[in-house]
Amino acid sequence: MAEDRNDWPLWEVFVRSRNGLAHRHVGSLHAVDGEMAVEMARDVYCRRAEGVSVWVARSADIVASDPARKDDMFEPMVSKIYRHPTFYEIPSEVKNI
């Protein structure tokens, strides 16, 4: 079997389920090129009208944050509590704010 090893690149598949919603990652597949990846994504991930739009991207092209650095990567946002509306005290008599 080794002579035809599946060297087709891996693609990540994103599907927009309805108009107005964002595309969402649903899984991956192998295809020779983007066009084939879109057609296969239809067959593999949209057999029941799960989507109105498909994006595919080469898995190798995706750059991800490092899970081991999750704490220092996202901590600065956690400590900035003044970025949240609940940080501010407004007298209860004041309405519509």
């Binding site: 599946n6 649903v26 899970p67």
Partner: protein
Amino acid sequence: MYTQGLDQRPADGATKAGDDPAALAAFQARVDREEKIEPNDWMPQGYRRTLVRQISQHAHSEIVGMLPEGNWITRAPSLRRKMILLAKVQDEGGHGLYLYSAAETLGVPRAEMVDQLLAGKAKYSSIFNYPTLTWADIGAIGWLVDGAAIMNQVPLCRCSYGPYARAMIRICREESFHQRQGYELMLKLAQGTSEQKRMAQDALDRWWWPSLMMFGPSDRESIHSSQNMAWKIKRVSNDELRQKFVDATVPQGHYLGLTFPDPELRFDEASGHWTHGPIDWSEFNRILAGDGPCNRERMAARRKAHADGAWVREAAAAFAAKRARRQRAEAAE
């Protein structure tokens, strides 16, 4: 279809060489907090190996599982039944692909998993090594085999490994149609001519015990589940799942007016459960070891399909290369 009960080796231990005890403890704490483990997260080597084995076996089962039913597509008795069966078999192919894709996130290329299957080194569910002798078998498979698969798969939607859990959610959404079309088929036969009813009974007689074996060895014999339970790869024990299946299925069979091939089957008032007779595990072990009625035929069919598709893979790769060259040339102009 389905996973579990294939793997009779002990689970890979958590404390194998190479895993730092502090990292292991932090990992277990994450699992205990019901956090999902994602592909790039640190994980114990045993966790990774266990998942690769389980998910790839599950994927192989979906793919090999297309064969017994595919056998009847051209002989379906009506256009309606043919469309249903085509859609179901296509779903099973899709399930295989979701699962290969989940397994690949653990760092194993799909080609490697396919090679293992074709080389006869990988396991797949024992149930697909039984023949589909009559049209009623298609009903029995949907009702019983997919029914058992659902029981198995629903707890896997909560598996600690994110990509596997998400694949299982997609699969479970699709399985319900599989079971219902099978039961409807059985119902039509059971309400049909005496010959049709006899066919339905014969299919139940042949598929009942193999379906119970799908849940794997009894909890008393399965040595590997405690680690998998701690890692939340497995959530419910084999015997518990089997009991749930029996309780759900026996009344459905009685509604069809059929009898189960188990003289010891009875309702136990005290526990509120249906109790069944002993399972012939020697049959299960024989099939897992490769010596079932259709093991050789299934593997031969997979190998032939793979070999017959070689020219398609080559042509697609050549076409993509040609197009890429042309695009580069155009860009250079």
